[in-house]
């Protein structure tokens, strides 16, 4: 029986049989369907996935004409991250001219709105100069990152320390305080960047600190869109499931804890978000095939429920991509093709 080379979620190159590959796809979609209470992938979709993942090609792609557009998180950080010490405007030009980017994102290395707020006056001139030379749309981006509002990094009591002490009410109050501070910072920075000419603002890893993090970003998005109706607000998530770190927070009457992508997108739309970026986390103990079947099962109903463009996150460890710093092109290209063709995305 021929063996198929495939990747695990941690990037390891493994050999599986045809039967094992089929089983992984079926179990992956079943896992997602049960968790989110959405339909599993149908036979045609599973067969399509099977064809993609049984290929022996090192690289695969969508068909000509089926391409989508790409938005980026932490765009300008990625060149420096590999030790190439270019300025950020040069990094943007590299993406624009050499890497085929449809859009780009200017970002600070301390990639949080709280960190950027005190130095926003230094960020704005960089953005303004970048806008003079760039042709592609330019976002400014950072993370809501509510965690850094907690002591010792921030001013509010640390909910993660209060909860094991049984101080639940105090922990909730601390998180609510962090929400208020984060909204102010995101609106402040977002406003400054719009006034400097940004095409869009990106909120990356929304929900990383659970439901307070998601709430803060939804509220900041709503305020910014009311203030600047033509600002593009991209809201990219951190995980497939909103962790109930507070548990009782609501946005427009909907409790945030426990929401999956097909539910998250509705609130994002209601907040005025322009582009929604759902995330599905990769399980490193399972194959990439299992992970992509699972990811697409979550994403498909999200796309169906959306009235705005959906750009699924497909960086390291999300969207069926393995958790590995040096991503194998075989795994990434398969996931990319699968997500676009079966997930029916508007972008990545």
């Amino acid at each position: 029986m021929p063996k198929i080379l495939t990747r695990m979620g941690d990037g390891f190159l493994a050999e599986v049989s045809e039967g094992e590959l089929r089983k992984d796809l079926e179990e992956g979609t079943k896992d997602a369907a049960e968790r989110a209470k959405v339909p599993p992938l149908n036979e045609d979709e599973l067969r399509h996935l099977y064809d993609i993942y049984r290929s022996s090609a090192k690289f695969t792609s969508v068909d000509i004409g089926d391409e989508v557009v790409l938005t980026y998180d932490a765009g300008t950080l990625k060149i420096r991250r590999v030790g190439i010490d270019v300025g950020r405007i040069h990094a943007l030009q590299i993406y624009e001219r050499l890497l085929g980017a449809d859009t780009m994102e200017l970002a600070h290395v301390d990639y949080s709105y709280k960190a950027v707020k005190p130095i926003v006056g230094n960020e704005q001139p960089i953005l303004e100069q970048a806008l003079l030379t760039s042709t592609i749309p330019l976002f400014y981006g950072a993370m809501p990152n509510l965690g850094i509002y907690s002591q010792p990094d921030g001013p509010v009591p640390n909910a993660s320390e209060l909860m094991p002490m049984g101080k639940i009410a105090e922990a909730r109050a601390a998180q609510e305080e962090a929400v208020e501070l984060a909204v102010k910072d995101m609106v402040y920075v977002g406003s400054a960047m719009y006034e400097s000419g940004a095409d869009g603002i990106n909120f990356d890893t929304t929900g990383a600190a659970g439901d307070p993090d998601f709430l803060a970003t939804l509220r900041a998005s709503k305020i910014l869109k009311a203030k600047y109706p033509d600002l593009c607000v991209e809201l990219g998530m951190a995980g497939e499931f909103i962790l109930g770190m507070h548990g009782r927070l609501e946005f427009e009457g909907v409790r945030l804890a426990g929401l999956y992508p097909h539910e998250q997108v509705k609130l994002a739309q209601s907040a005025g978000v322009s582009i929604f970026g759902p995330v599905v986390n990769t399980n490193t103990s399972k194959s990439c095939a299992w992970n992509i079947a699972r990811a697409i099962t979550f994403i498909k109903p999200c796309v169906a429920n959306a009235t705005i463009p959906v750009h699924a996150n497909m960086g390291m460890g999300v969207g069926g991509a393995p958790v590995v710093d040096n991503p194998p092109t075989d795994a990434i290209s398969r996931a990319s093709k699968a997500m676009v063709e079966i997930g029916r995305l508007d972008g990545l």
Binding site: F59, T60, S61, V62, I64, G65, E67, V68, V69, L70, T71, Y72, K78, Y95, E96, R97, L99, G100, A101, D102, T103, L131, L132, T133, S134, T135, I136, P137, L138, Y194, E195, S196, G197, A198, D199, G200, D230, L231, C232, S274, I275, T307, I308, P309, M314, G315, M316, A321, P327, T329, I332, S333, S336, K337, M339, V340, L345, D346, G347, L348
Partner: protein, 106 residues
């Protein structure tokens, strides 16, 4: 990561019409099919042409909306964005800010 996705699934930005299609998603909330059809109509090309670097280089040069290789005298950067805003019929924030700051906002 970025280049793999760009080649596997991306339109290719300024190599093609990727930036233009992205602008329609960003400014008007268009889904991918609608955004491509809109841009194709505005550029008087087919939707298939939008992903073709050969065809789009010609079109981008004719319309002055920015080329990957910055040939002398061709609009680029802000100049190209002025033209993009006009051709696509959209507002581009930095273009409007530029007009205001340069006192040509009439």
């Amino acid at each position: 990561m970025a280049i793999t996705h760009a080649i596997a699934s991306g339109m290719g930005g300024m190599r093609t019409a990727g930036d233009l299609v992205a602008r329609m998603q960003m400014t008007r909330g268009m889904r991918i099919k609608e955004a491509k059809e809109y841009v194709a109509r505005k550029l008087s090309v087919s939707v298939t042409d939008l992903s073709d670097p050969f065809r789009m280089t010609e079109i981008r040069d004719e319309l002055g909306i920015g080329l990957v290789t910055p040939l002398p005298g061709r609009p680029m950067g802000m100049e190209a964005k002025f033209r993009i805003a006009e051709i696509l019929g959209i507002k581009i924030n930095c273009v409007n800010k530029f007009k205001k700051k340069a006192n040509i906002d009439r």
